[in-house]
């Protein structure tokens, strides 16, 4: 019997070995894939197990955390949620993260290895670092001015510091309170459904994710291309410009909303936004130069990140002459984000150089130790410095005596360009009112702010007066807020 008892013991030993081999399989071999299984709540529990780091504006937190005592313990709170939603995005237990909450998630959630005092330490201790802080480039006063200016209307504002690319304001209206998406309660699901089904699209970041036909504000790009290529050399020389202008190869006649555009000078045509003049100017400059300049301003760039990705603005690279003429006045297929048009204005203000726009000045640990900083980075040169000087003159004239007088600020040099983009079938939609501008305090070496404003439901009166009437005062308020601070 002894032999058989030994056999039975060996059988039990085999069972034990099978258990150990299988435990190793689950705990070591398959552990990574099991840990990452989306149905495994552990990552979420760890993630929400500590307060999330804050997003800062002007040194003040615009976010917060609330201890709910639930399984996903800390919920995100927002101060002035609708005001900063286009900057912060949301951080939801259920629906994930967007915008800065998404782009800087590693810092905010504390998982970024740079936050650890020692490399690999956290791997051993299984500790989690407290969430870091994200210092934005936003100026609270500018943001508030833009938000208040848009009021209840649909629209967006982007403001940039031209010499650095710092984004000073990024507003999209109508907005929403991201706090409504924090937590796991049923009201979160209702908010999510309501926000997504709303015809106003409150969660759409119109400043960076929506492209609009830029209308006459695009004439800045056309003028830059014409001056750089030598199509026009003298701002004050009369040109051969018919009014009305028949689009090349068609019988379609283009007209103006203002008088005096026939054989106008570039200065006059720019100040009063002559469509006939700029359509012909673009066609005369040619597709290669127009497309090249547009690209140098940032059009057709699908890779721009601030750090959230920015929708690419469009300028077609193969068109016939008539399409090119229409594109040169911001119509046909030309589309731009408000941020892109702020970059156009900033390039003029910055001597022709386009600085990469950015939203995060620096990231720090919870204690304030700097983890990363964002330096200024020149994207490319949009035009010659001399051309930039000429365009500054042209844009200043618009505010001093043209369509943009509503943006004038006493004792400040302000340059601007109005635009009204018609859209819809047979231009039936209410036109978009545009205004792009920059401002330079007297005594300052260079302009300190460039702004783009778009208002979707502008007053119904047609013509560039709409951009000057609806959008220019908002731009003015934003510029004043920046200059005043």
């Amino acid at each position: 019997m002894t032999r058989y008892i030994r056999h039975a013991a060996a059988f039990c030993a085999l069972l034990l070995i099978a258990l150990l081999v299988n435990a190793t399989r689950v705990q070591i071999v398959q552990s990574d894939s099991l840990d990452e299984n989306p149905a495994n709540r552990r990552q979420a529990i760890t993630r929400f197990g500590q307060p999330r780091g804050d997003i800062m504006v002007d040194g003040r937190a615009v976010t917060g955390s609330q201890d709910t005592g639930e399984q996903l313990r800390y919920e995100r709170t927002y101060k002035n949620g609708p005001l900063y939603a286009p900057v912060t995005g949301f951080a939801s237990q259920v629906y994930g993260t967007t915008l800065l909450e998404n782009a800087e998630d590693d810092i905010l959630s504390g998982t970024d290895p740079m936050l650890a005092p020692l490399p690999f330490w956290n791997d051993i201790s299984r500790d989690q670092n407290p969430g870091g802080k994200v210092q934005t480039t936003i100026k609270a006063a500018a943001q508030q001015a833009a938000y208040a200016g848009l009021g209840g209307k649909k629209g967006a504002v982007a403001a940039i510091e031209p010499s650095t690319g710092k984004i000073l304001a990024l507003v999209s209206t109508p907005s929403y309170d991201p706090e409504r998406l924090s937590g796991t309660s049923s009201s979160v699901a209702r908010s999510w459904a309501a926000l997504n089904n709303s015809s106003d699209k409150p969660m759409l970041n119109r400043a960076i994710r929506q492209t609009y036909p830029p209308g006459s504000t695009f004439k800045v790009v056309t003028a830059a291309a014409a001056l750089d290529s030598g199509t026009v050399t003298d701002l004050d020389a009369a040109t051969k410009s018919p009014s009305p202008y028949t689009l090349p190869g068609t019988t379609t006649e283009l007209t103006n909303e203002v008088e005096g555009c026939k054989n106008a000078t570039l200065r006059y045509a720019f100040a009063w936004s002559c469509n006939t003049f700029f359509a012909k100017l673009g066609a005369d400059t040619g597709l290669a130069d127009m497309a090249g300049t547009a690209r140098n301003f940032g059009f057709n760039d699908t890779g721009l990140k601030i750090p959230s990705s920015v929708a690419a603005s469009n300028f077609d690279t193969s068109m016939d002459k008539a399409q090119l003429a229409l594109s040169s006045i911001g119509q046909y297929d030309t589309r731009a984000t408000p941020l892109q048009m702020a970059m156009v204005s900033a390039a003029v203000a910055n001597g022709g150089s386009v600085e990469a726009p950015y939203l995060v000045d620096r990231t720090t640990t919870d204690d304030g130790d700097v983890v990363g900083t964002h330096g200024t980075e020149t994207l490319q040169r949009a035009m010659n410095p001399a051309t930039a000087m000429q365009l500054r003159e042209l844009m200043t004239d618009v505010v001093e005596e043209g369509t943009g007088t509503n943006a004038a600020i006493p004792d400040v040099t302000v340059g601007g360009k109005t635009g009204t983009a018609q859209h819809g079938i047979d231009n039936s939609g209410t036109p978009y009112a545009w205004f792009i501008s920059w401002a330079q305090k007297s005594g300052d070496a260079q302009p300190s702010v460039a702004v783009a404003v778009v208002v979707e439901d502008a007053a119904a009166d047609r013509g560039d007066i709409s951009g000057g009437g609806s959008a220019a005062p908002i731009a003015k308020a934003v510029m004043e807020a920046v200059l005043g601070g």
């Binding site: 019997m1 032999r3 058989y4 008892i5 034990l16 258990l19 150990l20 552990s31 989306p38 299984r126």
Partner: protein, 454 residues
Amino acid sequence: MTGTTVGSAPPSVPAVRVPRRRGTELALIVVAVLLSVYGYCDVGLAKNGTVPPGAAGYGAGLGVLALLAHLAVRFRAPYADPLLLPIAVLLNGLGLVLIYRLDLETPGDEAATAQLVWSTVGVALFIGVVVFLRDHRVLQRYAYISVVAALILMIVPIFFPAVNGARIWIRIGGFSIQPGEFAKILLAIFFASYLAANRNALAYTGRTVWKLKRLQLPTGRVLGPIVAIWLLSVGVLVLERDLGTSLLFFGLFVILLYVATGRTGWIAVGLLLAGFGAFAVGSLEPHVHSRVEDWLHPFASIDAGEGPNQLAQSLFAFAAGGMLGTGLGDGHSILIGFAAKSDFILATAGEELGLVGLTAIFLLYALLVERGFRAGLALRDAFGRLLAVGLASIVALQVFVIAGGVTGLIPLTGMAMPFLAQGGSSVVTNWIIVALLIRVSDSARSQPLPQEPS
């Protein structure tokens, strides 16, 4: 067989006695209690940042229980294997720590205190067995009473309402017990007794089924009663949907039949029957069929959008533990939900103690089993040998069935991890098993070593 005083050898044989090692046992018990108290404090520190207020009471309670058990062994079974009791104390202490740890996640559903009360009952019965059962061979006389009692215990729950799909509970007032647990011991006694009495007939008589004499079927008169008992018990368990226990009885029966007769054919027949039975039940019985489906596709419910099932949650818990574990109190095995403290307690051990801790726990069980087999090898009476092997096999099979189930090695069957899992009947039964192993190991080690294996 009566009249032999335990602890004395026939004078004609030179006494080669095993050292008693009661001091070793006491030292190991102290270590086991300290480890448990350490774990208890660790949970409190991890969850609340303070040593739990009950730590001293818990340590004292466990310590007093262990000490009383030790004294019973010291005076009534002085030659008993010194490892058995410390292993039981450590596993029971660790189980209490794990249950207390899970209690913190389920306010309003507190189980650790009840478990401590049941452990006290278990230790009391342990002491009772060690003190009053002077010779294990006495049990042989009660073989038929045992089997009748076992069958009654197994049948009674049929008349009580099902709890979570299984009719294995008796509820009276706020009290619930699982009589099937106690039936394990009684059946082991019956099998050991019957096979010890009839093993020659089973091994050497009967009709040859194959010409090659690979398999001889014993006469129906010998084989009949035991097969009938076995079929009856397994049948009842299938009715009660207690598949883990039916698998356990099946394994116990095959192992004891093999050890008693030494005929490999029994193993072949056993495996064939098991395979056929498993296939039939697995494909016909919907409850079991779903368990098999879960085992084959543990993440099917996730793909179906219904979230992870218990097995998937259990696998997540084990994976989260990795090599070293998250530390006591820092895991999230409560996500398993229902049965986290009972059937799935091992997942908490796996997550918070890691593969290292899990291996340690498996090795503790392996030592317990090995010590049982060793006692069986050293004994000279066939009944004692089969009883020791049977009890050790119960522990081994039970650990394999439940641990294999929660780690996805075999289909899941609801069963309690010996000593670790929440469950009064289970912890009491296991203390009695250890008491019987103490008793047989005392007999084995107080005898001179057998000169010739029989």
